[in-house]
Symmetry: C2
Subunit: 315 residues, 2 copies
């Protein structure tokens, strides 16, 4: 089975990791949000891309989901002593990723090629593709003005109230090489339980990606469980955008792109409402979607593929 | 006593450190070569400046003289795994210096200001001034073509035969703020036992510095002992430039700038020749100039000041 997963940070990375550990595993391509990429100390940092890769390589920090396991903070502590910016924690090993990526980008190589090479070194089987080799920084429109994503997300701890989003330069961006081919060859598209506003929407906004997905069988897994986000500001964003946060809101968010949505069993009462509202046939399945352990990831991934298989057979 | 020291890397850093640890200590300004500054991974690295600062702060790696003590190499090892350039070793703590310096340079601050702030954090008393806030990269002309200094020095291990040197952009460079004032107010100028070609000459080439020094009492300590450099390619460079490497060659190198030179006691036989050759009065003193321990640094520094005092009293 050829599967393409759309992923942002920790939630997406976990499900992508689960999909890659299935036995037999599907032929997996992970398209990763790079709208949260930013520059610090002159380094090009791609937090979502790194989180996905570190998880797929099994070398993520288990407590946080981001960063590397067994990480030390010698550089970070010295930066603090020098009075440098310490709002974004950079581990010593993690720094190597940013340093070498920055060097290669500076010599003109595209992010997708660099990522592929890093994945080979890290023993990652799935193809990991940044959504674009072009920079498309996500700007968060807030009551404190327009903010670069990491300023909003990490520096200000998602404190400002959101009024909208802007994916800067997206209209001129192109999908990274291999993305449209992977989508075309896919039996199933999985929208991981990532933040719809700032993890998945940036990917969908790259010209050509959404229209390619519309031809395909697309499943989403709701990142909202019982009105709350497992992690991050997704629920808060829905609220501030005037939408009650729920799995139902997530279904509506992706709307006619979806053939099916997997929601948490705590939200079983929402199933009928979701189905009734949509004008096109939408399958809804309830299961335990909260991935706490690595086993949870693999189990959920298996259920996602079964769900996809079931829809394929019905069609 | 107001002392200005001209320093390059390890040898200069050691003597500057000795001068700063004298009791009573002179009011010390250290002017440091930045011709070896270079860019790696997008980081602005100033090896000589860091070596001087780490030594003055007592936090240098004692085995090498450069880099920081108790350093770990997590980032460096990961860079190696990723196939990145590993010819220049970057320790985890040392990385913080380059990261924060790069960030502040990028935001428009001058190197001298950044260095002063770092020195304050590191508890360094002497004023440490980069020779210029303008980039003046040293290019080494060799039988393999023109090479950036660190490519020659570290990457190629000083292997190529040298035919000359070029201090790129030096004619338009200005001494860093405070340099000319420090020289004007100095009772004694000390040219540390650094490489005359690539550590001291770049400093002397910055417009205004050499002419300011000509008005002053200047002592040099020969980095060549018994025809060999304590460290680095100074002797090899003399040879390749067609000059027999010796303390005598060092005296000739600085020529009419010098009022006195301190050479190693192993080179006592050179004293008469040095004195006879110079057309202006030149004092020569022999002592043990090889600084192996921190005590050696302080002892030698004391002898340097005594030598200076002696000349001052004679004048």
């Amino acid at each position: 089975m050829n599967v393409v997963a759309l992923a942002g940070g920790v939630g997406g990375a976990k499900l992508a990791d689960g999909l890659s550990r299935l036995n037999p595993s599907p032929t997996l391509t992970v398209i990763v949000n790079t709208g949260d990429d930013f520059n610090l100390f002159g380094l090009h940092i791609s937090p979502d891309l790194d989180t996905v890769c570190y998880n797929l390589a099994g070398m993520e920090q288990p407590d946080t989901g981001w960063g590397r396991a067994d990480e030390r903070w010698d550089a970070y502590k010295e930066i603090q002593k020098l009075g440098g910016p310490d709002w974004f924690r950079l581990g010593d090993r993690d720094l190597a990723t940013h340093l070498e990526r920055t060097r290669r980008l500076g010599s003109g190589e595209p992010l997708s090629k660099i990522t592929a090479d890093f994945c080979r070194v890290w023993g990652i089987d799935p193809a990991v593709l940044p959504m674009s080799d072009d920079p498309v920084p996500t700007m968060v429109l807030t009551d404190q003005g327009e903010l670069a994503f990491q300023d909003y997300f990490v520096k200000l701890g998602c404190e400002p109230a959101v009024t909208g989003f802007r994916f800067q330069g997206v209209e001129k961006s192109r999908p990274a090489p291999g993305i449209l081919q992977a989508i075309e060859g896919a039996d199933l598209i999985v929208i991981c339980p990532s933040n719809p506003w700032v993890s998945v929407d940036p990917i969908l906004a790259v010209p050509g990606i959404r229209s390619a997905l519309e031809e395909k069988l697309v499943l989403a897994i709701s990142p909202i469980i019982a009105g709350k986000a497992v992690k991050g500001p997704a629920a808060k964003m829905y609220q501030e955008m005037g939408i009650s946060p729920s799995a139902s809101a997530v279904a509506k968010h992706y709307s006619n792109l979806l053939d099916g949505i997997m929601i948490d069993k705590q939200d079983e009462k929402l199933v009928k409402g979701i189905k009734d509202r949509e004008t096109h046939p939408l399958k809804v399945i309830c299961t335990d979607t909260w991935m706490k352990t690595r086993e949870d990831r693999v189990r959920l991934a298996g259920e996602v593929l079964d769900f996809g298989q079931q829809i394929i057979e019905e069609v």
